[in-house]
């Protein structure tokens, strides 16, 4: 089969690999029909996440058709059209049994601090991802769901991570009616977080980014006010002015490890990999929140330490809430919102790239060329 393969920082190519096999009785093999490149894949692509091995296939956002099932699989059969949440989880451990699917203890041998994620380095379990023609899906009775008949496949692939994570980011903010919400990052997760903040009753939503075409999308798609931080000497002061010098009730960091805006932090984190992530967005979030406010972090960071202004968080009495999104918990509610017309996730898809051209797809997305917001990858296995 054809699969995207990592060859080192900023280098990938398509290779022939063996079709994955059933390795556990509850595995399924899925033939991928649509995958996506996620902003957090770029952290892998840029060499930010430890134990990203040459030869790995990325891709934690994908949908497809069941190709083979293991002997204990009860809920799926060959030919079913399924959507697969990015979390790999057993459904029975201490954490899964409480709904913390992203924190499963039974699927990541390499670390205890994060559960399993498809195609997200050995730090997240060493599983190959879905930017390929076929992928192994562990715990097929737990993770995947049938794609509803009425749902468009491009909406389904956006439901495997980007939309639920954005919605979850707003949930972690614990938004109350009338709250002022600031979202750092106008990528798909930030845009969905901004849109979700309205559903939760926000009184004002402000999106901060540095690329004008993404801010335009924040205005039109997410109905948000926007600030281009590159146009201001100090974005935190601008946000304070905009909120009557109070600060925002809720701030959502939808940027993560490669935030720009501070030369020293960017070089030590994004370039030299000496921090688990450039904490610029997180520090701005801490600064821009009002005292007693909430900071929600759904941007991806690596496991190494980062220079975070924790003292300010303590002194301001902030609540900081974080997690990888437990995707499947969000689906029933998000299905309703899509059916009611409140959300149309595929509106953010800007590029559809054949798997054979995925190196170009990564470059376009990484450099933000051609107005790229969300690229899909389309394998061609029949």
């Amino acid at each position: 089969m054809k699969a995207m393969v990592y060859r080192g920082p900023y280098k990938i190519r398509v290779e022939e690999k063996d079709i994955p096999t059933i390795e556990h009785p509850n595995d399924a093999i899925i033939r991928v029909t649509q995958a996506a490149i996620c902003g957090s894949d770029l952290h892998l692509y840029h060499g930010m996440i430890p134990d990203t091995r040459v030869g790995t296939t990325f891709g934690h956002e994908f949908v497809g058709v069941v190709h083979e099932v293991g002997s204990s699989v009860e809920k799926l059969k060959v030919g079913d059209r399924v959507m697969v949440p990015f979390n790999i989880y057993c459904g029975s451990c201490f954490f899964c049994s409480r709904g913390l699917f992203s924190n499963c203890h039974n699927v990541n041998a390499n670390a205890t601090a994060v559960g399993g994620i498809y195609g997200y380095s050995h730090t997240a379990g060493g599983y190959d991802g879905g930017q390929s023609e076929f992928v192994r899906v562990p715990f097929a009775d737990v993770g995947p769901s049938l794609i509803p008949e009425w749902m468009d496949e491009e909406d389904a692939v956006m439901l495997t991570d980007a939309l639920p994570t954005g919605y979850f980011g707003a949930q972690l903010g614990d938004i109350s009616q009338g709250d002022t919400v600031v979202v750092f990052g106008a990528g798909p997760v930030g845009l969905f977080a901004a849109k979700s903040a309205w559903l939760m009753g926000a009184g004002r939503v402000i999106v901060v980014d540095q690329l004008e075409y993404r801010l335009e999308k924040a205005r039109t798609f997410a109905h948000a006010e926007t600030y281009n931080f590159a146009e201001y000497k100090d974005i935190v002061v601008e946000l304070k002015k905009a909120t009557g010098y109070l600060g925002a009730d809720v701030v959502i960091d939808a940027v993560g490890a490669e935030a720009d805006g501070n030369f020293l932090q960017h070089v030590t984190a994004a370039k030299l990999k000496l921090q688990g992530g450039s904490p610029i967005a997180l520090n701005w979030a801490i600064d821009a929140a009002r005292k007693g406010g909430t900071v929600s972090v759904v941007g991806a960071y690596g496991p190494i330490f980062s220079a975070v202004k924790f003292g300010d968080a303590v002194n301001k009495g902030l609540t900081i809430r974080t997690n990888q999104c437990p995707v499947k918990r969000q689906w029933p509610r998000l299905f309703e919102h899509i059916q009611n017309g409140y959300l149309k996730p595929s509106d953010l898809v800007t590029h559809r790239i054949p798997l054979e051209h995925i190196a170009e797809g990564y470059h376009i997305f990484s450099a933000k060329l051609d107005g790229c917001i969300k690229p899909l990858v389309v394998p061609t296995a029949g």
Partner: protein, 192 residues
């Protein structure tokens, strides 16, 4: 106003927001939010086991020492190999996730892995192509040349990329040159 008990007024009223934004406020009640409460004991997951059957360990599998045992299911994408594999094995066997050394060795092993794999590819029918593998061929059809002068995410840092990419090669080359010079000097001293 911040210096009194009042919150700054919103730019729009709630009624205006409800009229302008589809679905405004439909999840105003936290109980309507799927991950509230954060932990739901006994949540339905589809698991029909108390502890999952164990995946066979066909070759030695590294694991975090913060785990009591190898997890019942694990990934098999890229087994340990070469010098980078030895470094990773050492990091996993020696240090917990709490230790900076654990992660810094893994990051260093990633760089070694890239070099090892690049060199190994030179001995195959399909060596690495450092140009095409960056995807830079997309620049022209994706308005890349125009964006070099305009808005793109990596614009501010383009000047330092050659330094960061070439730097390790130059340092390694310098180290080899210094080593060779030292060897030559010892060799010529031995002959005289």
């Amino acid at each position: 106003m911040t210096y009194t008990a009042n919150k700054p007024a919103l730019p729009e009223t709630i009624d205006q927001l409800r009229a302008r934004i589809p679905g405004w406020g439909v999840d105003s009640d936290p109980k309507d939010r799927p991950s509230v409460p954060r932990e739901q004991p006994g949540i339905e997951t589809g698991a029909h086991w108390d502890f999952p059957e164990r995946q066979p360990e066909k070759q030695p599998r590294e694991r975090s020492i913060e785990h009591e045992f190898l997890t019942p299911v694990f990934g098999t994408s890229v087994p340990l190999k070469g010098l980078s594999g030895a470094m990773r094995k050492y990091a996993y066997k020696t240090y917990s996730e709490a230790r900076a050394a654990h992660w810094l060795i893994l990051v260093a092993a990633d760089r070694v892995d890239a070099w090892e794999s690049h060199l190994a590819s030179l001995a195959t029918a399909r060596p690495d192509n450092p140009l095409t593998e960056t995807g830079v061929r997309s620049e022209i059809p994706a308005h890349g040349l125009r964006s070099r002068r305009g808005s793109r995410a990596d614009k501010n840092h383009q000047w330092m990329d050659p330094v960061l990419v070439a730097g390790p090669w130059l340092l390694a080359g310098g180290a080899v040159a210094v080593g060779l010079k030292a060897l030559m000097s010892r060799w010529s001293k031995g002959r005289s």
